[in-house]
């Protein structure tokens, strides 16, 4: 085994990129298909509209990627997005200034994330359950604030909804797109170029190893959910630019679309691996499927769900294959028992991180 030569080893690192390169390939295939099938599908504006229509989903996916790489899951993002639109609309109706409204919304989203993170780390609540609680809580709060849709007539929000920024060649995007791209840029920097980002991956590998390596597990877990909450709130603001209303039913089920985008982007749900730009590709793949169905015109929009399901299946299978090959390669390495990581993590959290063996 030690004879594995340098050539063999040098070829390997590409494999961690395999998942997201597959998404990129798929995106290209979808575009080629669109180009052949529908004249005018491949145009600059169609591509830009993908970003315009999915800006909020891109922002959600950035937060979700942090959470999933850390080994968790955030089911609350759809509800937090909905709550954010309702809070924004309600405060604007009460004639708050738009700047103050945006700050309050972002603080509420981050605070919910903070509570979720604290619960997950210090009370050892599973991420699924903790974020499920937060999901119901945020959704319920929407109805308490206002059961009916509230229209937004604030001039700043109206301006954001109508503004079109020229990007050259006579093409335009809404202001949501640069905001989303800034979030992506910040996310990439933090996740891939800072020590905090490294520790997110470390924590996602299983808490015991990370804490034995001296990594600040608690801080990382909590911060990851704060980031996700913040992103959900920001996505809510972008969404209200898009719809100019706050409504308690906004974003129902959106958390699942977000998770789908992250998975299609090559991030493994068990944590520890994935790339932020993969999730963005995942959003674009889902968006392109929707665009293709819109172009076709004869297919119901439910087809997009069926296709999204099929794509997810394909990606999960690809991930399985990658994992299996990895296992075969690592020879003596023990195959990981399903759930072992989660259990080690849970027990680790419970005991404060000491090895018991």
């Amino acid at each position: 085994m030690s004879g594995a030569g340098p050539n063999g080893l040098r070829r390997l690192p590409k494999r961690r990129h395999l998942s997201w390169t597959v998404s990129l390939g798929l995106l290209i295939v979808l575009f080629i298909f669109g180009a052949i099938r529908f004249p005018g599908f491949v145009s600059g504006q169609v591509v830009l509209d993908l970003f315009v229509d999915n800006a909020y989903l891109i922002v959600l996916a950035v937060g979700m990627t942090f959470v999933v790489i850390s080994g968790g899951l955030d089911l609350s993002v759809g509800s937090v997005l909905g709550l954010s639109t309702v809070i924004a609309a309600a405060l604007l109706r009460a004639h708050w200034s738009p700047g103050a409204v945006i700050i309050v919304v972002l603080l509420v989203g981050s605070a919910l994330g903070l509570l979720v993170g604290l619960g997950i780390h210090y009370l050892s609540i599973q991420p699924f359950v903790a974020t499920l609680i937060s999901m119901f809580f945020a959704r319920g709060l929407c109805y308490v604030l206002s059961p009916d849709s509230i229209a937004i007539s604030d001039p700043f929000f109206l301006g954001m909804a109508q503004a079109q920024l020229p990007v050259g060649f006579g093409l335009e995007v809404s202001p949501s797109v640069p905001v989303a791209l800034l979030v992506v840029l910040a996310g990439v920097l933090v996740l891939h170029w800072t020590m905090f980002g490294r520790t997110v991956y470390a924590v996602g590998n299983g808490g015991r190893a990370a804490s034995l390596m001296g990594v600040p597990v608690a801080r990382t877990v909590v911060l990851v959910y704060v980031i996700s909450g913040f992103c959900a709130a920001l996505a809510g603001i972008l969404f209200s630019f898009y719809t100019l209303s706050g409504y308690s039913l906004t974003g129902v089920g959106l958390e699942l679309d977000t998770i789908a985008a992250v998975v299609i982007g090559g991030t493994v749900l068990s944590g520890g691996s994935g790339y932020l730009w993969g999730s963005i590709l995942g959003v674009l793949v889902l968006g392109t499927v929707n665009a293709l169905i819109t172009f076709d015109g004869t297919l119901g929009t439910w087809w997009s769900k069926i296709i999204a399901g099929a794509l997810l299946l394909v990606f999960v299978l690809v991930q399985r294959l990658v994992l299996r090959r990895r296992r075969a390669d690592s020879g003596g390495s023990k195959p990981e028992e399903p759930g072992a990581r989660a259990r080690a993590w849970a027990s680790d959290v419970g005991r404060g991180g000491l090895r018991d063996g």
Binding site: G5, R10, T194, G214, G272
Partner: protein, 506 residues
Amino acid sequence: MPAATPVVEMRDVTVTFPGVRALDGVDFRMFPGEVHSLMGENGAGKSTLVKALTGALRPDSGSIAVDGRPLEQASPRKSQALGVSTVYQDTNLLPTLSVTENIMLGRESRWGPFIDRSATQARARALLKELALDIDPAAELGELPFALQQLVAVARAIGIDAKVLVLDEPTASLDGDEVADLFRVIRHLKRRGTAILFVSHFLDQVYEIADRLTVLRDGALVGEYRTDDILRIELVHKMIGPQYAAIEDVAPVDFSQQFAGDSGPVVEAVGLGRRGRVAPFDFVAREGEVVGIAGLLGSGRTEVARLLSAVDRPDTGRLRVSGAGRRVRTPRTALRHRIVYASENRQNEGIIESFSVRDNILIALQADRGWYRPISRRRQEELATSYIQALNIRPADPDAVVRDLSGGNQQKVLLARWLAIAPRLLILDEPTRGIDIGTKAEVQRLVNDLAANGMAVVFISAELDEVLRLSTRIVVMRDREMMADIANDGASSGKVLTMIAGGGAP
């Protein structure tokens, strides 16, 4: 020769757990530039001593000093700060990150708040080069063979300027070449002046790499020796300790009764083996025979048992079961052919603590009959009561919850469970560990009776005298290989000890 001042000095260290004195006033020292091996059987206190040194637990009394500085209010972080680095057996690294990231995590080169990737990688590369390891720092750790992962763990450990490197069972999953690689790195570190604590069950490896040994037994210090000065057979004696004779007085066993029928083979293994666990071996268990498996902890005793009972899947060879048309490959089919493995791991692989004695006894029988043919309540009571009487289980209450029973009685419940399905081959892995001497004698008597009635029994025990006392045949394991399969003619004690020790024993 070791330098004059020790780098690690543990004095009179005592650690108690509820009911157990895990370490009892133990002194331990290590010198710079030496490889020191910690020797002892199960429960000797090795891992407790390692944990005390690495700060994973705090001793009740005694002092620990590293490089002259005391380790107080111990924690892993404090111990690391004093220069003690540990590589754990299951290599606690992060498989989805790169080699560089694993080595440098937490001390990356930075440029403002951002990681300077190329500088970090360069440092990792330099570290790997210093250890003469040909590993690409950009490779993903999980894609490397396990042995290389372990060497990466060593690189990470010494990167923290380690004065003392603790290697806990580092060779447990490595093959020969991989061990040679690890030893090369160890020798290199030794020349650098690092003190290395090498914890291993493999005597050959200990004799190859260690300069000195400390032997522990039952939580107490037996002694510290230079490897060159102590013969293997002496070492094994010191690890195993004086053999008790007392058990004969407690419960004499009638060994005159022997199985009278034809001794047909029940199972036959040909070239059965599993890579990295146990080398291919041949084995036959016949009716009415007690085959004892002797060997040190980690010698492959349990692995043999698990292969014979199809609990683990072999890579090579065949397991033939008399009366079985097809190959037996799963524990379920093995059970159907009445091959039973009673695990040494009573808590996790045996007893169901929250169930009653009756349910624990009957669960295997019920599973064997199929869940759609329930055993009637009255029959359940009868069976449970008869086993409770036959095995003298205390309290004699079928509805007692097993959690409340003593270890010995739990062991008897487990035995009853397997006896209830009338096994042809009963494999007992350390059935007498952690139980009192009286119960131990009862279990021994039971094994003898079962064999006399035609059952084939494989009996594994860490205590050699027990194996010698009960077995008609003895299989000796050493370093995951079956060394011998000999008849127990009463005079084999010395021979068996010699084979367990191996190497240059007299």
